[in-house]
Structure formats: structure tokens, C-alpha cells
């Protein structure tokens, strides 16, 4: 691999958007009054994150926050996810999850009805699909979200 090819290859995973979210995670705080929360854990990497979600009576996500530690990919994924979720209905969240999951595992799911901005962000995260060991880093936040919404307190990906 030439140096240029290597750069392209690595830049596919470590895009600026990812690096930026990894370094400066958004919504990185404890949200004590959230009505859903869950602890996500990837025993392989030791990545851990606590996710707080507030859903109102109309099934609209009012607030999402997280705290934790992990690699650039898992932190960026959590940060970008929190950014995307605010203001979405639970149905929209489900569609986003499905698209995200498909994108990271290499399935082709059409982003029907998703905001262009969200699709771009998820495409950035989907660089992991060429890094099999890192897929779980990208999906940890999303699995934790599912657990939180189902009121499961803990989730562990392996």
C-alpha cells in the first residue's frame, strides 16, 4: 500500500467529522432527570458509556446526553447519535437505528425518509464496515439506546 493509499484507507475510518466528535463529544453530561437510561459496555475494548434519554408523552425525544470513555469511534458515534436524536419521534429513531445498523454491517438499506444530514453522518460512521473489529465500537451507543428505550439497564456487546 502506498502512503497515499494508506491515508485514503485510514481516512475512510477516521474522517474529520469522526475525529471532531471523538475529541469534542457533544451532549457529554449527566442528565439526572432522563426517563430512560442504560449503561453500555464493550468488554473487548473496555468502552463504557452511560446514556440518558428523555422522551415526552408524544413519543418525541426531548433530550439525549451521555458520559463515558472509549475509542474515537465509539465516542464519535455516541456524540453524533445524541445530536441526531433530539426532536425525533420514536418511530423516526427506529428507522435511523435500522439504517445505521445496515450501514455499519455492509447491508444496503435505503435511507428512505431520513434527513440528508443524518444520512451523511451515518455514512461517515459506516467507514467501520471495512474494519470488522471496530463495528461494535460504532454500534455500542446505538445498542445502548435500544436498551435504554426498552428500560434494560445494562447492555454488553461482544
Amino acid at each position: 500500500m502506498t502512503n497515499a493509499a494508506l491515508d485514503t484507507d485510514l481516512r475512510d475510518l477516521y474522517q474529520d467529522l469522526i475525529l471532531d466528535h471523538g475529541k469534542h463529544p457533544r451532549n457529554f453530561r449527566i442528565a439526572k432527570n432522563a426517563n430512560h437510561e442504560a449503561l453500555g459496555h464493550n468488554p473487548l475494548c473496555g468502552d463504557r458509556l452511560m446514556l440518558y434519554v428523555t422522551v415526552d408523552d408524544d413519543n418525541v425525544v426531548q433530550d439525549v446526553a451521555f458520559q463515558g470513555s472509549g475509542c474515537a469511534i465509539s465516542m464519535a458515534s455516541a456524540s453524533m447519535m445524541t445530536d441526531m436524536l433530539k426532536g425525533k419521534t420514536l418511530a423516526e429513531v427506529g428507522a435511523l437505528f435500522d439504517y445505521m445498523h445496515g450501514a455499519c454491517t455492509g447491508e444496503t438499506v435505503t435511507p428512505a425518509g431520513l434527513a440528508e444530514d443524518d444520512v451523511d453522518r451515518i455514512k461517515a460512521l459506516a467507514g467501520v464496515r471495512h474494519y470488522p473489529m471496530r463495528v461494535k465500537c460504532a454500534t455500542l451507543a446505538w445498542h445502548t439506546l435500544q436498551a435504554a428505550l426498552k428500560n434494560e439497564k445494562k447492555v454488553s456487546t461482544e
Binding site: L6, D9, L10, Y14, G46, G70, A72
Partner: protein, 429 residues
């Protein structure tokens, strides 16, 4: 210990197989060709394998010994009168002698063949632990132990109520003998510590620790997983009561490992697993067990793998553990110097008492990101907690990246590592 290991004195017994010439120049290149796996490209880069502490690669000679055995002599052992069974039994039992000489044990029957170091420690915890320990008794461990030397004792604690006393390490990663001394009480029954830390590379002062244990009428178990491949080990010189190591980290096959266990202690230990080949006689009313070592080898053992382990020990002994130690210590010094020059990098474990392992973190880059970026450049390191979560917690970090050396690594490998780390810096600038 590092100094001792690096000395040119010939440790090996004056026995042909183990004769060591200890010439001054070590040519890792000369041994690389024995390891077919090294000759490949990973993501278009030549493989630089620096994950030896997790598992070492296998020389052609070990694979050949296994294949030749399966091609010519294979049969189940101990129970047969036919020729293949005799040959297989003789070859399998002969490895006890090979191991005995390798670690300088007194008797072949002190060598128990087990599945892994993990299996060995579980065996001691279940057999010796349940027989000789009672509620309130104490076992001394250190902060830097591998989970294999923590969890079996926790399971025993939760089952019979013993107490685990943990000796802290220094910020440099050392275990100080004063701190060990302070951990003893009248209830201390065992000290169980690593010979070399798999996470930091620290060489522990095990001879002194064992002496302390014996002064306190306690026994000592040494987890030698990371020692036997890096330096000569002399269990009688150390006066260890139990010494364990896995074959796969010593260039041998998976599924093979050694529990060295002093004869007088072994004799008093009840069996761990029950089954064939470990019994003297069985009836539904009463079963009697064989003498050690067979009492502890229930069922068909990993025959081919033990043959392979014997070949691996011959291989490293022919090169000479002193030479391997000197070579790896040179690499370690070279790597330490080069890594220190990377300003965003921090070496974790800065004691000078280290064997061929170097752990580090980098500012802004998580160890897993380091691992991925290195891998894309052909450099294989490990990233994570290295099965030493309590140590990580003690150090206040989630994980490290770890480069660990084997006899086939070269300064060029270190240079490749350093170049690859520059790319990490670039990306996470």
C-alpha cells in the same frame, strides 16, 4: 532479574540438548525463517508481529514435530500394549524430562500437563485451596496480576471465605519487597504472583517474595506465563512451590501447559478432575486414585500438543534462553529510547526491571485506535486491558497499547512500529 537474565553465563545444564554456546552476536534474522507466519503481508505491508505476550508464533520445527507424530506414532497413551501406543506413551512421558530440565525441577513427576496456565491455577485453587484453606485464611496477590491469577482465587473466596490481600505497585510499575512484607499476617497461606507482568513487562522479585512466603510458613505460586519465553527459569533456585506457564506463549502449541508442583505438596493434593487414566481402581462404592502426576491428568491428555511443547522447549533451549533474554532486552532498550522520543506517547511501566514488553498510551488517541492504525500498516500490537483490569483501574486508565517482543523480532520491527505510530500522531494531531 533483568541483569541476571542478560548475563552471558550459561544457565543450561551440561546436557547436549541444552548446551548453549552464548555467542556475542544474536541474529534474529537467522531465526525468522523458522517462522513461516512471519513471511506475509498484512494490508500490503510486511507483517511486524509484536503481540508475543498474547501468544507467540510457532517455528516450523514445532509444527513438524506434531505432524510427524500424527503421521508415524499416534495412538492413545498409557493404556495400550500395542506398538503405537508404546511409542506415543514414551514420547509423551519423555516431555516431562524435557520440561524438568528446562525449569530445573528435581523430579519428572512434579511436572503436570494441563490445558493452559489458567487451567493450572484453577487446579491449584480447587485442589490445594479447598483442601488446605479455611475461612479467614489469606492469599497475597499484587495489583498487576492477570485475571487468570485473580478470578480463580475470587471464586475460592466466594466459596470458602478466604481473604485476598492485594499488594499495590509503585507508579513505575514495580512490586516493592517492603510492600509484600507488609501484606503478611499470621493467616497468610499463599502468595500468588506473576514472575513477569504481561501488561507492563515488570519483572517481579520472585526469589525474595518466595523467601518471604516461606519465612511466614506460606507457599508461593509463581505465574511464569511471561517469564519462560524471556529468561532462564530455575524453579529449584527460586524454591517455588507452584510454577505455571502456557505452551502457546513459549512458541509451542495451544492446549498445552505446565503446572510444576513440588512433590511433597502434590502428594497431599486430592484430584481435580475425575475420569480415566487418573484412577487406580473404580467401583461404584469406592474409587482410588493414582499417584501424581497421573492423578491430575484425567482423561486423554493433549498428547500431540505436549509433544509439540517438548519440541518448542528444545527449540528455545538450543538457541539459549540467555541469548534470547539479552536480545529482547536490547530490543526493549532500543524501543524505549525510540518511543520516548514521540512526544505525545507515554510509556506505562517505567521501572528498569522489565522483560520484552512495552505498554504505552498516546495523547488524544485511544489504544484501540492506535491498534487499528498500526494494523493497517502491518504492525500487530495488542490494545486493551490485557486481562489486567484491576491494574488498569489502579493506573487510572482504561487500556494501553502493548508491543511485546519475541526471539524473532528485530530493530527493524521497532522502527516499523515507530513509523506507524507517527501516522497515529498525524491522524490525531
Amino acid at each position: 532479574m533483568a541483569n541476571e537474565a542478560a548475563s552471558p553465563v550459561c544457565y543450561a545444564p551440561a546436557d547436549e540438548l541444552f548446551a548453549c554456546a552464548a555467542p556475542r552476536i544474536y541474529m534474529a534474522e537467522q531465526y525468522r525463517k523458522d517462522f513461516p507466519v512471519l513471511d506475509q503481508k498484512i494490508h500490503d505491508h510486511p507483517l511486524v508481529y509484536l503481540d508475543n505476550a498474547a501468544s507467540a508464533q510457532k517455528p516450523r520445527m514445532v509444527m513438524d514435530a506434531m505432524t510427524r507424530f500424527m503421521e508415524n506414532d499416534y495412538a492413545n497413551i498409557h493404556r495400550g500394549v500395542h506398538e503405537l501406543s508404546v511409542r506415543a506413551t514414551d514420547k509423551y512421558e519423555a516431555v516431562r524430562g524435557t520440561v524438568r530440565r528446562f525449569i530445573n525441577a528435581a523430579h519428572d513427576d512434579e511436572i503436570i500437563f494441563v490445558r493452559g496456565a489458567t487451567d493450572a491455577i484453577n487446579l491449584v485453587a480447587a485442589s490445594w485451596g479447598r483442601t488446605f484453606l479455611k475461612a479467614g485464611d489469606e492469599i497475597i496477590l499484587t495489583t498487576l496480576e492477570h485475571h487468570a491469577n485473580i478470578v480463580p482465587w475470587q471464586m475460592l473466596r466466594d466459596s470458602i471465605g478466604i481473604k485476598l490481600v492485594v499488594v499495590p505497585i509503585t507508579p513505575e510499575g514495580d512490586v516493592r519487597i517492603e510492600d509484600v512484607k507488609a501484606a503478611f499476617t499470621s493467616r497468610t497461606k499463599l502468595v500468588s504472583v506473576a514472575h513477569v507482568s504481561n501488561a507492563l513487562g515488570t519483572v517481579l522479585p520472585v526469589a525474595e517474595i518466595i523467601k518471604l512466603a516461606h519465612e511466614h510458613n506460606a507457599l508461593a505460586l509463581i505465574d511464569g506465563c511471561q517469564a519462560v519465553s524471556h529468561m532462564p527459569v530455575d524453579v529449584r533456585g527460586l524454591d517455588a512451590d507452584f510454577y505455571v506457564f502456557s505452551g502457546h506463549k513459549l512458541y509451542g502449541p495451544t492446549g498445552s501447559a505446565i503446572l510444576y508442583d513440588k512433590r511433597e505438596i502434590l502428594k497431599q493434593m486430592p484430584p481435580y478432575q475425575g475420569g480415566g487414566d487418573m484412577i487406580a481402581s473404580v467401583s461404584f462404592k469406592e474409587t482410588t486414585y493414582k499417584e501424581p502426576p497421573h492423578r491430575f491428568e484425567a482423561g486423554t491428555p493433549a498428547i500431540t500438543e505436549i509433544i509439540g511443547l517438548g519440541a518448542a522447549i528444545e527449540y528455545v533451549s538450543t538457541i539459549g534462553l540467555n541469548r534470547i533474554a539479552r536480545h529482547e532486552n536490547e530490543l526493549l532498550a532500543y524501543a524505549t529510547e525510540k518511543l520516548r522520543a514521540i512526544n505525545s506517547l507515554k510509556i506505562i511501566g517505567t521501572t528498569p526491571n522489565k522483560a520484552g514488553i512495552i505498554s504505552f498510551t498516546m495523547e488524544g488517541a485511544h489504544p484501540h485506535d492506535i491498534g487499528t492504525i498500526l494494523d493497517r500498516q502491518g504492525v500487530a500490537v495488542r490494545a486493551g486491558h490485557h486481562c489486567a483490569q484491576p491494574l488498569m483501574e489502579f493506573l487510572g486508565i482504561a487500556a494501553t497499547a502493548r508491543a511485546s517482543f519475541g526471539l524473532y523480532n528485530t530493530k527493524a520491527d521497532v522502527d516499523a512500529l515507530v513509523a506507524a505510530l507517527r501516522k497515529v500522531q498525524e491522524i490525531f494531531a
